[in-house]
């Protein structure tokens, strides 16, 4: 049963027709065509699918797309200003916080949400805030350094 709806993603309104059980990550990738958001475990564990709903980080693999109607969804594509990367994104490049890259969009969204709420976190707070994002490559050290660099750059 298709349901006609409008999803607002990165400030743009997208008319979509969705099944009742379509998850938000599938709608973002398949219906809207923004593929920065990754489907990793698809089980609410790994955080690769992290988006913000009304400014709060949410695992989009376990959130029904139709529940996001009426909310503002922000994906990793919404963090840059056109071609200009955010401080946080630049810091990931500077610090080498990216290896295979699959966890990176989720890491960026969680870190972005942290820095919005807490512009000057300790490294311990950074690591706790990224607790829902798994990375199998980096060992997390460079990711934490990147978030700390971004925090210093914007404070």
């Amino acid at each position: 049963m298709k349901h006609a709806a409008t999803l607002t993603v990165n400030g743009m309104a997208y008319p979509v027709e969705l099944e009742g059980d379509t998850t938000l990550v599938r709608a973002i990738r398949d219906d809207i065509g923004l593929t920065g958001t990754k489907e990793g475990c698809d089980d609410c564990e790994c955080g690769a699918c992290m988006v913000m709903i009304d400014g709060r980080p949410v695992n989009s693999c376990t959130y029904l797309a139709l529940q996001a109607v009426g909310s503002d969804v922000t994906t990793v594509e919404g963090l840059a200003d056109g071609e200009t990367l955010s401080n946080l994104q630049s810091a990931f490049l500077d610090q080498g916080g990216v290896q295979c890259g699959f966890c990176t969009p989720g890491m960026l969204v969680s870190a972005h949400a942290l820095l919005r709420e807490n512009a000057d976190p300790t490294e311990e707070e950074v690591r706790l805030a990224l607790g829902g994002n798994l990375c199998r490559c980096t060992g997390y050290t460079k990711i934490a350094s990147a978030v700390m660099q971004a925090a210093k750059a914007s404070v």
């Binding site: 009742g20 959130y63 139709l66 969680s110 949400a113 942290l114 709420e117 807490n118 311990e124 829902g132």
Partner: protein, 303 residues
């Protein structure tokens, strides 16, 4: 997944009308349990009713009794000053749920109705004497939390009922509570073993009342009468705490699975229960014992 009708309700009455007798419909709040279960073979019903826009259920009153609207998130619960000071075990538990993302969408009502024997907030609700309010077309009824859970994933609620609130009574003076979890990692963890305790002291510092609950150690979260008997009437000395350890291990009915075997769980039941009782007693004496940190939401908006 299949052909699923989807509705968004904005009032409880609307949700109840859509739910009908509940035979082929379910309500969804945050989705973090329902959608994961759908992926693991428990298919979604024919109709899903999203209740996340029912703002009347997103309430929290912590003066007098604690009354928590069913849609209150873990992020809000563990950041609330009243919950942290007067019903501290609930704050301990909500702070440990999943990750920041899980705590944003996960609700107390959803947690309670999902009836997992490993749920973090269940033990604290038992030791603090909570009840849930279930609403149907016939009206409201109040169910003691210990009578709600009948097995893993099973409740005594009727399919046409919606949980609208959880009520926790105000606690006597010199009362402290705690939830302690045995975990292999700090985030996105499910209790290997958990224990909750609520301890009330008299003016001399002797334990006049105590409740202890064990998490992930039986088909539902259970009380440990032996651990409770071991601490009541004592001043919480090491000998009494050792008896708590033995009592909780004896009362546990653990299983073996890939996360831990039965013997290990039984041994740790005692250790974790002892820690929970010791922390609850410490808090009852007015001494600080930190609630697990959740940095984003301590400084932020919660929901």
């Amino acid at each position: 997944m299949g052909d699923v009708a989807f509705h968004t309700a904005t009032t409880v009455d609307e949700a109840l009308a859509l739910l009908g007798d509940g035979s082929d419909a379910r309500v969804v709040a945050g989705g973090s349990d329902l959608i994961v279960q759908a992926r693991h073979g428990k298919s979604l019903p024919g109709t899903v009713i999203a209740i996340h826009r029912v703002d009347a259920l997103r309430t929290l009153t912590s003066s007098g009794d604690l009354v928590v609207g069913a849609l209150t998130s873990h992020a809000t619960l563990c950041a609330d000053a009243g919950v942290r000071s007067n019903w501290t075990a609930i704050a301990d538990a909500s702070a440990l749920v999943g990750s920041h993302a899980t705590r944003n969408v996960g609700t107390l009502g959803g947690n309670v109705m999902n009836a997992s024997p490993a749920m973090e907030t269940g033990g604290p609700l038992i030791v603090l004497g909570a009840s849930v309010t279930l609403r149907s077309a016939a009206g409201d009824r109040e169910v003691a939390i210990e009578e709600l859970w009948t097995g893993p994933g099973k409740t005594s609620a009727n399919p046409g009922e919606i949980c609208v609130a959880v009520t926790v009574p105000a606690q006597p003076a010199h009362t402290g509570s705690a939830y302690v979890r045995l975990e292999y990692r700090r985030a996105m963890e499910i209790a290997i073993v958990g224990a909750s305790a609520c301890v009330t002291l008299d003016d001399a510092g002797n334990v006049t009342a105590a409740k202890v609950a064990l998490t992930a150690l039986a088909p539902t979260i259970i009380r440990s009468p032996a651990a409770e008997a071991a601490i009541i009437g004592t001043d919480g000395n090491d000998e009494a705490l050792a008896a708590v350890t033995a009592g909780a291990s004896a009362d546990a009915k653990p299983i073996s699975d890939l996360r831990a075997n039965e013997d290990y769980r039984r041994a740790m039941a005692g250790v974790i229960a002892k820690r929970a009782v010791a922390v609850a007693a410490q808090r009852a004496r007015g001494e600080e014992f930190p609630i697990p940190a959740t940095p984003v939401f301590m400084k932020g908006s919660g929901q």
